[in-house]
């Protein structure tokens, strides 16, 4: 375990992930978030609050399936049309499996269609991955089960050749580390390792090969100002759409 950096205040893993997401989203104007993605939503809300306080560009957040954070009026197709028009700058995707070329699998393991383990399905991934410029791959579980050499089923490919594509993977964030995606090399590059983990842990728990500096830095801790906004305003905003998650954050604070 290494010492904390950048702040005298303690922080939880969730708070760290939220803060990293806000940093990854820096500069975007419209971010879409899936219905059951409280950490990405919190990251987007943090960016919006920060920008508001520093007089920077206004950030729009569309939370799919939410009544309060959904300004679409043309039904379920509008978010996809909106992405196709280039009006959505960032989105989050996960996956039961993610491989070293950023291919994602939301369908299942084993031989399709009779998958051994079956997940819900592709949702909009086979479309949005192509059309949203900054797709952040987010999966808290960092294991060889998730991060495989080659996915069993390609719901959406990480890169494409000879086909119109304005979007794709930007970064991969896990409970252990942060990677960038380098399209030219079709590979991930380790950017930093979260507190409590080592570069060797990341290597040991990742089933694909990736680029890494000799001594990757520790992930920057959220600063005091960020933690203050997060624990106040953001927790309140989250409660509207993700009451259970907001309660978990509050309880974790009370117990700390």
């Amino acid at each position: 375990m290494s010492a904390y950096r950048g702040t005298a205040q303690d922080y939880s893993e969730r708070e760290l992930l939220i803060a990293i997401i806000a940093d990854l989203l820096d500069g975007v104007r419209h971010v879409a978030v899936g219905a059951s993605s409280p950490i990405p939503a919190a990251g987007a809300m943090l960016l919006r609050a920060r920008n508001e306080m520093s007089g920077r560009e206004r950030v729009r957040i569309s939370i799919l399936g939410s009544q309060e954070h959904n300004f679409f009026t043309n039904g379920g197709v509008e978010v996809f049309d909106c992405a196709a028009q280039g009006r959505i700058d960032a989105f989050f995707l996960g996956g039961g499996q993610i491989d070293g070329q950023a291919n994602i699998n939301l369908v299942g393991t084993g031989d399709y269609p009779r998958s051994d383990v079956r997940w819900p399905g592709c949702f909009g991934s086979a479309f949005l991955y192509f059309l949203v410029p900054r797709v952040i791959l987010f999966r808290e579980e960092h294991s060889r089960r998730v991060f495989v050499d080659k996915v069993d089923y390609v719901s959406a490919p990480g890169t494409s050749e000879g086909v119109a594509r304005s979007g794709g993977p930007y970064a991969l964030l896990t409970g252990m580390a942060l990677f960038s995606f380098v399209p030219a090399r079709k590979r991930f590059a380790l950017r930093s390792v979260h507190r409590g983990w080592t570069a060797a842990d990341v290597r040991a728990n990742t089933g694909f090969d990736y680029d890494s500096p000799a001594d990757p830095p520790q992930t920057q801790a959220p600063d005091a100002a960020t933690l203050t906004i997060l624990r106040g305003r953001i927790t309140q905003e989250l409660a509207e759409t993700y009451p259970q998650f907001a309660e978990i954050l509050r309880r974790a604070r009370a117990a700390a």
Partner: protein, 272 residues
């Protein structure tokens, strides 16, 4: 033109082998009608999920009534995976047509417009194309070197959903859930259950008319209070999360599923 009928008569419209389009949980799912349909046991249904499904699809699968499943996902949301769907996939109990959300919308929009297909970006390089042989890649006829996926029009026999209200003329309030209109335009017949019938026309003023599916596209309407339960209904009531969790737990085994369905069908029969 729309006719207001008892639930039983509405449910009887769904017959074996039909292609039935149903909306996602956020749009108004006709759960009471689903129970009434299950009681009739229509077989080999082709379920078109617009663009995903949850408990409704899982129930129809568990009852063995689905021959073809066309969907972008099946999930019980916070309650996790859909157990009868997962079991059915493993057993090869139905033909699976995995999709991606905007492709389902595009197929219905093609039918809405009366054209045979619609082009759609993305998808190339996804394994979806390996099994969705009905989706093709063509060259953009207006540009060089621009391959693009085309998906065929989806023509459901029936669209089925639940809405807050209809007026006595058969116009149905769908608010901003525009995919319900797309489904109706694309389908041969549209069945709607509603919480209530209002006496004055929903088309009488411009504000309300904008969110209305005209009776022209609606065939049968049945009044069922709490007709989406345990799924929620927009603007009316939230989902009964505890009940959905109870279903998720029980439906893990065929026996548990049968016991749940027994209670579900009986409860709805008593309410009718």
């Amino acid at each position: 033109m729309a006719e207001i009928v008892p639930l039983k008569e509405l449910a009887a419209q769904v017959r074996s082998g039909m292609r039935v389009a149903v909306p996602a949980d956020y749009c108004g799912v006709a759960m009471a009608a689903t129970a009434a349909i299950i009681a009739n046991r229509p077989e080999n249904l082709h379920l078109v999920c617009v663009p995903i499904t949850g408990m409704q699809g899982d129930m129809l699968i568990g009852e063995g009534l689905v021959g073809v499943l066309e969907t972008s996902a099946v999930t019980l949301g916070e309650s996790g995976g859909a157990p009868r769907f997962i079991d059915g996939v493993r057993k090869g109990a139905f033909r699976l047509m995995d999709a991606t959300c905007p492709a389902v919308h595009s197929g219905l929009i093609a039918a809405q417009k009366g054209v045979p297909f619609l082009p759609i970006r993305g998808i190339v390089g996804s394994d979806l194309l390996k099994t969705r042989t009905d989706w093709k890649i063509i060259g953009n006829p207006f540009a060089e070197n621009d391959p693009i996926v085309v998906v065929p029009a989806i023509h459901p026999d029936i669209s089925l959903f639940h809405a807050p209200e209809a007026d006595r003329f058969g116009n149905v309030r769908i608010g901003r859930r525009r995919e319900l209109a797309t489904m109706a335009y694309a389908s041969k017949a549209t069945l709607v259950t509603v919480e209530r019938i209002c006496e004055t026309s929903l088309l009488r003023d411009e504000d309300s008319a904008a969110g209305v599916l005209p009776a022209l596209y609606v065939d049968k309407i049945a009044v069922v209070a709490q007709g989406a339960w345990p799924i929620g209904l927009w603007g009316e009531y939230p989902a009964d999360a505890a009940e959905i969790a109870r279903y998720a737990a029980m439906a893990r085994t065929p026996e548990g599923f049968a016991a749940y369905m027994d209670g579900f069908l009986r409860r709805l029969a008593e309410a009718a």
